[in-house]
């Protein structure tokens, strides 16, 4: 019964919260409308979204978000410095392949998004079976450290959340 009515409880909850933030006012009517959205949108989209992510240790998510936000701010300064103070001939960019250990689609999506938002890297493509990810870096003298950093800083944390 619960699976039929609320196939994705977390999704329903976030729809309700996003709705309340959109109208910017917490009244009983808005909560009711948000709850109705939270029930019907997951129900209607359930056929396109068969699996359910298994998140272990949800508190790890908070730590992950804080680490990523900090890295985004640092990334902004690094990229700004490269743009402003490096001559074009000195910028050495290139591609690296990062082999993945995580298998959950949600975790890979999160990792790809994180790579794009953080220091000097953009994720460009997955391999056909989804076990490695192609990353473009703007400037680095030692490409091996990029793979190492992505794996230890982000993938390790994601692996704990999506076992």
């Amino acid at each position: 019964m619960r699976r039929r009515l609320l196939p994705h409880p977390l999704f329903s909850l976030s729809l309700l919260v996003v709705w309340l933030m959109l109208v910017n006012k917490v009244t009983p009517g808005n909560v009711l409308l948000g709850a109705i959205l939270g029930v019907f949108v997951p129900m209607l989209t359930a056929p396109y979204w068969p699996g359910q992510p298994h998140i272990k240790k949800p508190l790890k998510m908070v730590e992950y978000v804080l680490v990523v936000i900090w890295d985004i701010v640092v990334a902004n300064f690094q990229v700004a410095r490269i743009i402003l103070f490096k001559r074009n001939e000195d910028i050495r960019s290139g591609w690296v392949c990062v082999p993945l250990e995580i298998t959950a689609p949600e975790a890979i999506t999160l990792l790809a998004g994180t790579i794009t938002m953080t220091p000097g890297t953009v994720s460009a493509m997955l391999s056909a079976d989804g076990t490695s990810i192609l990353v473009h870096y703007l400037h680095d003298d030692d490409p091996d450290t990029i793979v190492e950093e992505i794996k230890t800083r982000y993938e390790r944390r994601l692996k704990e959340m999506f076992p």
Partner: protein
């Protein structure tokens, strides 16, 4: 409105403006599409973020209301920026690059635009 609040709001607006400018300058300066992709996905995040923080501080301390719209803009920005960057990168590779120019994929299958995903029959 007191002086201190004004200074804080102006500080965030100026920082945001500088980063927005640097991001746009990067688009002009850098050499190829993949390098140019780095400028808007990163240098502008603090640009947009700074304006949003300034807006939140303004509504909270000057108007006295709590506004959540800025948090939603941040959320949607973080959802859309990586996805569109991924699309642009993939289209660029498809249109302008040869498979030999990329590093190998370190798995049994090649990169997604050159190789088919494993089918049901491949799994034994």
């Amino acid at each position: 409105m007191n002086m201190f609040v004004e200074i804080v709001i102006s500080f965030f607006l100026v920082v945001a403006g500088i980063f927005g400018l640097v991001g746009s300058f990067g688009m002009v300066k850098l050499k190829d599409t993949m390098q140019r992709l780095h400028a808007p996905t990163k240098a502008t995040t603090v640009g947009v973020g700074g304006v949003l923080i300034a807006s939140m501080v303004y509504f909270l301390l000057v108007k006295g209301t709590l506004s959540f719209h800025e948090l939603l803009i941040t959320l949607f920005l973080f959802l859309t920026a990586p996805v569109s960057a991924h699309f642009i990168a993939k289209t660029f590779i498809q249109a302008k690059m040869k498979p030999e120019e990329l590093p190998g994929s370190e798995s049994d299958y090649g990169w997604a635009i050159y190789d088919d995903p494993p089918t049901y029959y491949d799994k034994d």
